[in-house]
Symmetry: C2
Subunit: 208 residues, 2 copies
């Protein structure tokens, strides 16, 4: 999965190169920009079916199309968002999703104080309408941003409604049936790595 | 780093066990809860210096203290947050940080329309005051939530002010001197993995 995680990074650089009028990019440039070995980059990109030529490297346009196709980002995927608290509202306003072909088509909450409010152009709907909306639109992707304690209940609702992929921003490990996939975003993980590296930096190994 | 990323997950479970009055937990339980091999869990936990006993497993309290100590989460680390847009505001309101020993002590922005506003109990200060604040408080950790285009400039400001660890929530790869560490939170990575798994789920391999 590490290689798949790196694809958005390559994509970002390729789009910049494309915008600057570059037709080809060498594997070495891609590798250096991402602090990786060229062999790793070639392996990462092989999943898209694109192989560079020895002299010219990779065709920028072809590689963009291939990565987008591989990730299913060539046509915008629609998603519902459940839980419009701070984080949910932030994600509704996050413009970066456009770059990844993600569009949040509906936002849902169970708090009567929030229902009907318009956040970043999307009206918050009552969670009771989730099933009707998901079935009518055929959406299969859901963004979960409810409080930790409500995560499993909201997940069950999403699964019942027909959601097949859940992007879980709560700290709760939710249970889903086999035909549903989840991806957990855990801020604690990144902070753990940063804390550890910062401690190491501030407290160098004592001299022998 | 994979093992360090898993420590917050163990910590969460251990705190739940502690709250339920459990004194010991077996490596097997920790492994099963996290879908890991027991050997991996033992290896992950070895960095904290805690070794389980064959019969009783790990002492819950000792292991909590050791993980918190290893990550530097035993005493709350203070951080500044630069860029109080949607995401910055969401992070200011994110209660989960308490669990990781992180407290955002100051929030900064350069937008005059935001300066002076109070978000989740913290008054937004002009970014010109960052250096004075960082030097007065001795804070070394910074959360970067400015728009992508302002990321490098804000990073330079933070580094000049004395910040040594930057938690970067922007899509920009920022450049820092050697004595500074950065950790990038990239939503695109998680979405890439989810998109790929979802495509694989919906479009099973064609029969031979």
């Amino acid at each position: 999965m590490a290689g798949i995680k790196r694809l958005p990074g390559y994509l970002q650089l390729l789009r910049e190169l494309q915008a600057d009028g570059h037709e080809f990019v060498s594997g070495t440039v891609l590798a250096e920009t991402h602090d990786l070995e060229p062999a790793i980059v070639r392996k990462d990109l092989a999943v898209t079916g694109i192989i560079g030529t020895p002299r010219r490297g990779f065709c920028v346009n072809d590689l963009i199309v291939a990565i987008e196709h591989f990730l299913g980002w060539n046509s915008p995927a629609k998603a519902v968002l459940v839980g419009v608290g701070n984080l949910g509202a932030a994600l509704l306003g996050y413009r970066g999703f456009d770059d990844y072909g993600l569009r949040i088509a509906g936002a849902f909450d169970r708090d009567p104080a929030r229902i009907g409010l318009s956040i970043h152009g999307r009206k918050i709907q009552p969670v009771e309408k989730l099933t009707t909306f998901v079935r009518a639109t055929g959406i299969i992707l859901g963004v979960l941003t409810v409080p930790a304690g409500a995560a499993q209940e909201a997940t069950d609702l999403m699964v019942q409604a027909g959601i097949r992929g859940i992007w879980n921003f709560t700290p709760t490990k939710v249970k889903v049936p086999e035909h549903v996939v989840t991806q957990k975003e855990d801020l604690a993980e990144g902070l753990a790595v940063l804390s550890h590296r910062l401690q190491h930096l501030m407290r160098p190994a004592s001299p022998v």
